[in-house]
Amino acid sequence: MSDTKSVQPTIVKAGAVFDGVGPDLRGPTEILVIDGRIAEIDGTVSRPDGAETIDLSDRTVSPGFIDCHIHSELTPTRLLGTVHTESSAMKSLFALKGLKEMLDSGFTTVRDASGLDESNSTVDLKRAIDIGLIDGPRMLVAPHMLSGTAGHGEAPPLDSFYHRPWGGIVDGVDPIRAKVRHEVLIGADWIKVSLSGFFGFRRGDGPEEICWTQDELNACVETARDYGVHTMVHALGDESVRRSVKSGARSIEHASLASAETVKMIEDAGTYVVPTWIVTELFQSGAVTDVHKMPSGEGPPPEMPQVGIFLMGDQLAETQKHIAASDVKIAFGSDAGGFPHGEAWREFVAMVNGGISPLRALRAGMSTAAELLELPDHGQLKPGMVADIVAMQGDPLKDIEATGRVDFVMKQGAIHRRSDGA
């Protein structure tokens, strides 16, 4: 059971290993796991009494995947449809399925980039996972999407029984400081800001529209930092990306329309980028809106984002080239929730299709993601690391789609999912 820490030592016999950093795949390797951590990793390891051996000699083993941008409470079949129409409890309950799917498919850590309710529901989800009440990846949580009036964080304008804000509209330096402090109080691991809009959902929500001044954003980042908390900023248009870099935010989410010059600026500043290319691709292909049309007629309105995305297709491709050609620190983020959580691994493929090397893409979802999230004992397979270990069929350096064939998942030394026959 995944909710009980395995007390007995475990030896994982791997056919091949990608250690989270690379650059190469190692051959047959054994990993000794004791008390949730990697004790030894070598050709052969010691054999403590009572150790269970897991034979993964026909699999490639890697660190558990880390997704730095998901929305656990966003359900792909409903998208924002639940914001006003469901109780706070129900929004959290919807998250259970996606979180389990993510863990099943190899994601042992996720950063939740804002919930859908004004309560601190995603913080509770995180705690419930930590104490084993529910199954899911380890969570780091940005409870609410902060933005200015008319910004991306405005809830869709629906009227219903559960009419309630989802908790993040705030303008002006002092109110922003107070809001950030409140996020910290309720348990924020991260502060999430949506500085720009998205793809023209409505007035105020375009990629070039910006909801906060530089001063407002700086106040947010600085206040969070005073509590040891970092800020992640959703920024699509070029100016919003530049403002994010200047603010000292730790990661920029999407950065979809950044110019070559701005990408250079990101590189020089050492800011992380979480590109979330798969969700863009799915919106572009219309997959998101087609898949999510509800039988009841609910679901996203027809003018939803893909219109904007179509118009900007060339610019998006241009920015992808700049980012792929740069030395920007890229961390993996899928934006899962906008599409089924079990498909989050497709971001690995989207990155490679966008020109990022498989090695860099894999690091993005392992060691680089752990760096961004300041989890120094995650994202790599070496002694002392937390034993988040997954196994897949094939060599992901040669065939990135191997990341979609994970069938063994260990989280903190406890086996969550076993390969058939292993």
């Binding site: 109780s87 919807f94 509770d124 705690r127």
Partner: protein, 319 residues
């Protein structure tokens, strides 16, 4: 529900809850969430065989008195939500495939949310039948009708009443407002049991000793009794006893009172009848495939029920 290849359960014994006895070797074929056939020998076909030759197969247990929410619940979300889910998952692991929750302290509608989360398979757990709130002494007599109406409109499966000194007329009014939904009444005295019986509510959760006169009257009525700690009766014959999980000693505690086989019936066929669940409670073709298997003879050792080796809910293996 996704279609799955059938399950063929090769069982050492079956418990027959109407006859209160074990039947010898039998095969049970489960398809599309339903029991397709029961026979001494069924050809395998494309079904997946589950070897239960050393086990006794029983209908999934029904707990009519499951408390999922603590009394300290507050707020919209919170850890209590996941504690309740984990409690429901634990019920399922212990072989309880259906659980009635007669009211929670939460002022919102979280029990309905939990029921939905399990029905939509967002999380594993016993299927829940829910009385969203306990209609207790905080309500004035004048407020009861409205409260019942609100419970019903919001999707209650049951109406649960827990009022001291409630009268038969009040309860008849509740039954009327419930408009067909079954009504459960907590009864702490013989007088309250008589009132529940007179109003012909569906169930009374009883935490006191019945005297001979009360027992005889209830035996003639239609109300099912769900024993709680403190329950006792001079002669259980003729009472419709259904199992509820608030007995601290569980099914074994009920068995001390009734004997093992009747206690098993109380948790299966009788509980199903009490809750009007005509689709479960026995192992017969056409019934829902809510089934559990225990290693050994549960009539000889009822403690086996606490740790079933197999739990099947709606045709799906849970463990």
């Amino acid at each position: 529900m996704e279609p799955e290849p059938g399950l063929l359960l090769r069982c050492g014994r079956l418990f027959h809850p109407q006859r209160l006895e074990l039947w010898g070797r039998a095969d049970v074929l489960v398809k599309d969430g339903t029991i397709a056939s029961v026979a001494p020998r069924i050809a395998t076909g494309d079904a997946r065989v589950v070897d239960l030759r050393d086990c006794t197969l029983l209908p999934g247990l029904i707990d009519l008195d499951a408390g999922l929410l603590s009394d300290q619940v507050s707020g919209d979300t919170g850890m209590w939500l996941y504690e309740a889910l984990a409690a429901s998952r634990d019920l399922l692991r212990r072989g309880i495939t259906t659980a009635r929750v007669p009211g929670g302290a939460d002022k919102r509608w979280s029990l309905l949310d939990l029921r939905r989360a399990i029905a939509e398979e967002l999380a594993p757990g016993a299927e829940l039948l829910v009385a969203p709130h306990l209609l207790d002494d905080e309500l004035s007599a004048a407020q009861i009708g409205r409260a019942v109406e609100r419970e019903r409109r919001n999707g209650a499966d049951w109406i649960a009443v827990d009022r001291r000194g409630v009268t038969a007329d009040e309860l008849r009014a509740v039954v009327d407002s419930a408009a067909g939904l079954p009504v459960a009444v907590a009864a702490q005295t013989a007088a309250e049991i008589m009132v529940a019986n007179d109003a012909a509510v569906r169930s009374a959760e009883v935490s006191c000793e019945l005297d001979a006169g009360t027992a005889a009257a209830v035996a003639k009525g239609s109300t099912y009794l769900v024993p709680r700690d403190g329950f006792g009766a001079p002669d259980a014959v003729g009472l419709r006893l259904a199992f509820g999980g608030r007995l601290t000693g569980g099914l074994a505690q009920l068995a001390e009172l009734t004997g093992a086989a009747p206690a098993l019936a109380a948790a299966t066929v009788t509980a199903a009848a009490c809750a009007s669940l005509s689709d479960r409670g026995t192992i017969e073709p056409g019934k829902r495939a809510d089934l559990i298997a225990v290693g050994g003879d549960p009539i000889a050792d009822i403690a086996l029920l606490g740790n079933p080796s197999v739990v099947i809910k709606q045709g799906r293996l849970q463990r």
